[in-house]
């Protein structure tokens, strides 16, 4: 197998489970399929598998309800944190003041913690709900990025400031994909900490009303932990194959 079709088949097969990918690519090599037929075969299987995955509501939830709006809101918060940091540390004032333009260090720290926590919890939900449809959630979370990069005035902050949420978000996605279990206590503590800091920022008029939506992933974690602990209590068995995080 050579030419461009075989690398394309290999690329398409990345959307399959590892065992299935091994079996399918091995079959193609063993039967000396033509590269293009191999590519079509793999693509056909990937399409069938993806069609099956999208019958579940979770990939839709991850892509449309979490990835798309959260990436937009987190980009906004990233810029806000960058503006505040530049004003307080480098004494540079940018034209865009958000939310008040008068935050001090305590509010900056509060916003940094919130940015990290919101990004991680949103990433975690995206990773745990998307699984093999992560490509779609990723693509949808890029839509606001493309929009913002297009609209963003070049004379202001470096464009990297839009993506401060990316690293903690990626950690969250990774933990979600690994099915990292969050204990009820840890999830409740995290949600409570986020809510208290959000209330504090809100009282100082340093929180955008739409940012309350970013509390939902943390509340989802609490709900999922409650449901899991109930199921485990009912079945009376201890979970296997997970790493639990507690406080």
């Amino acid at each position: 197998m050579n030419g461009i079709a075989w690398p394309l088949a290999m690329l398409a097969s990345q959307l399959l489970d590892r065992d299935e990918r091994d079996a399918v690519l091995g079959d193609l090599l063993e039967t000396n399929e033509s590269a293009w037929r191999g590519f079509l075969d793999v693509s056909g299987l990937v399409l069938r598998r993806q069609a099956g995955l999208w019958k579940d509501p979770r990939p839709w939830l991850a892509a449309l309800v979490v990835a798309l709006p959260c990436s937009y809101l987190l980009m906004d918060v990233s810029v806000s944190v960058s503006c505040t940091y530049q004003r307080l540390v480098n004494h540079k004032v940018y034209g865009w003041h958000w939310p008040t333009g008068h935050e001090g260090f305590p509010l900056l720290l509060c916003h940094i913690f919130l940015l990290l926590a919101w990004s991680w919890t949103s990433g975690y939900i995206i990773g745990s709900l998307s699984r093999r449809t992560l490509w779609a959630s990723t693509a949808l979370s890029l839509v606001p990025a493309v929009f913002c990069l297009h609209m963003y005035p070049s004379q202001t902050l470096p464009r990297l400031c839009l993506f401060l949420f990316l690293l903690p978000g990626l950690f969250g996605v990774r933990h979600g994909l690994q099915n990292l279990r969050i204990s009820l206590r840890a999830a409740s503590f995290l949600a409570l900490a986020i809510a208290v800091l959000m209330l504090s920022a809100w009282r100082q008029q340093a929180l955008w009303v739409l940012n309350w939506a970013l509390l939902l992933p943390a509340l989802y974690l609490v709900g999922a932990a409650v449901g899991r602990s109930r199921r485990e209590r009912r079945s009376g068995s201890s979970p296997a194959g997970h790493t639990e995080v507690g406080v």
Binding site: D19, V24, G26, L29, D41, V42, L47, G52
Partner: protein
């Protein structure tokens, strides 16, 4: 009741015995039916039949001719054999009297 392709797959897998795996099943189906069998149809049907408990699959050994990749081995379970027999019996019953089945059933239409 099985579908036509499910019956074909179970029958071919049963015939191949210990050597039943994706590529071998596919080649046998294509040789017997003289029709192309896509990977998508093959593997999604194998999954469906395994969920119904009619097949059991596991990852076999990797060979150099497969680029060091493992085979997905297939074995027909007892419920799978029963389901295939039911399908075959049903086809034989419904075919009695059909003009194309004369030589098989010994009856004329």
């Amino acid at each position: 009741m099985l579908g036509e392709f499910e019956y074909l797959l179970i029958t071919v897998a049963a015939g191949l015995g210990e050597n039943a795996y994706g590529a071998a099943i596919r080649e046998e189906i294509e040789a017997t039916t003289e029709r192309k069998c896509s990977m998508g149809a093959l593997y999604t049907t194998i999954d469906r039949l395994e969920k119904k408990g009619l097949l059991k699959t596991w990852m076999g050994e990797a060979t150099p001719q497969r680029g060091g990749r493992a085979k997905r081995m297939v074995r027909v379970t007892s419920p799978g054999v029963r389901a295939a027999k039911e399908f075959y019996d049903a086809v034989m019953r419904v075919s009695r009297g059909a003009s194309w089945a004369e030589s098989q059933t010994g009856r004329t239409s």
